[in-house]
Chain length 225, copies 2
DNA sequence: CCCTGATAGATTGTCAACAATCCCCCTTGA
DNA sequence: TCAAGGGGGATTGTTGACAATCTATCAGGG
């Protein structure tokens, strides 16, 4: 994954609690700790080489992000996700990323727009090669969405999507081993979104982004019913 | 405020950390701890009668909700909010509550719709009395929005709006002593939104809700430039 | 007079021990 | 055989002390 798709707390964070938060989050999102895993505090503290104090602070933060489920006096386990949850998340993505696309069309700098266009070209080349590009497509898709979100220049929106929603989306992808099952169509939709942004048509950009995510949701619904 | 607008952790939560989290959140949102206040851990621990362990867990959770700003090794202070932040939040509200209204039109039970209509009638009566109903209008407005959000029947969306966004909105309202400066118009807009929901027109409900929140945002922008 | 650097105090970060709660399982009785 | 109750063990919740870091103050030199 490229750096632009990363938001983990940098490895040299000043406090143990921040570091263990970042490491624990990665272990959850990337699947090292499968969903439903019971997380004993003593065991985890040993695993990360910290005491239970900082660990519990990290757990409370990950609980806020819905990556962990905690029951008082009982314990904490990795969030176990149902398909219906993913569909709910896609409704939220449709709303938020639609707004992000609108704001990106209005607020992105010309340099940012050029970079986005450049990214699309790379994806189209990979597509032409017909290689096994599933991994790169998957992360490339995220990269595309990340850039538009950042382009909204709305800090609240960026933090919500990248800080809270996308970790869940990534966890789902790893959990279900979801490969992009409509890469050709998705690429075309990306192209039209960029065109709308280039012509600074916020309304059109929002419409296209919403349709793009809505179709992805329908695709999920079709494969899980 | 009516119970439906409350989501605070109930007072008899099982753990100290949960209780202090709820109390600290109320103190921040309701203004007992003004924005910018430096929060010393020892001092706070004494105030709430707990040790620093549970307190720090509560702080980390409130930091996730953007109610607190923390700098490692320096300290924690109550989030100090700029008008531009509020405008960013209203963009997010426009997107999320628009979606909520759409889903509410599709998913609300008939009983929920009837309750919403009942609530509107109460607000219209208060309006007719021409009393000093600023407080009730303000909280009543929140109640209206809360109900539609709940009516979406989308747990992810509900948690996002009520668990993370609305605390910030309420804090702003207290902080800026914002009184509804267009109650008449807002009430009319509420009525049209309910009509759309009653006729199960999700697209129209979303459009009207977005316009409603967008106008509130423009109103804020006009008063802060 | 202003800038630099060291020091002292206070505050935050971390840890390990103690207390409270829950869960499992076994006994006991119908 | 099965249900109800209690006890042991393990896990979580909480605390107070110790260590690390920052900030404010003040002395000294330019």
């Amino acid at each position: 994954m490229s750096d632009s798709a990363q938001d983990s707390v940098s490895q040299d964070s000043r406090t143990l609690a921040d570091r263990v938060f970042a490491r624990l989050q990665d272990d959850i999102v990337l699947g090292a700790l499968p969903p439903g895993t019971k997380l004993g505090e003593t065991e985890l503290a040993a695993r990360y080489g910290v005491s239970r104090g900082p660990l519990r602070e990290a757990i409370r933060r990950l609980e806020s992000r819905k990556l962990l489920e905690r029951v008082p006096h009982v314990g904490t386990r990795v969030a176990s996700l149902k398909a219906s949850d993913l569909i709910e998340i896609y409704r939220v993505r449709e709303a938020l990323e639609g707004m992000a696309a609108r704001l990106a069309a209005e607020n992105m700098t010309d340099a940012e727009v050029a970079g986005l266009r450049e990214l699309l070209s790379q994806h189209e080349q990979q597509q032409d090669l017909k290689e096994d590009t599933a991994y790169f497509q998957r992360e490339g898709d995220l990269d595309f969405h990340y850039r538009i979100i950042q382009g909204s220049h709305n800090r609240t929106l960026i933090d919500l999507l990248i800080g809270e929603i996308y970790h869940l989306v990534r966890m789902y992808r790893y959990q279900f081993s979801m490969t992009a099952n409509r890469p050709q169509k998705a690429l075309g939709e990306h192209r039209r979104i960029i065109e709308a942004i280039e012509s600074r048509d916020g309304e059109m950009a929002e419409l296209l982004m919403r349709r793009h995510i809505s179709r992805a949701r329908e695709n999920i619904e079709a494969n899980n019913t």
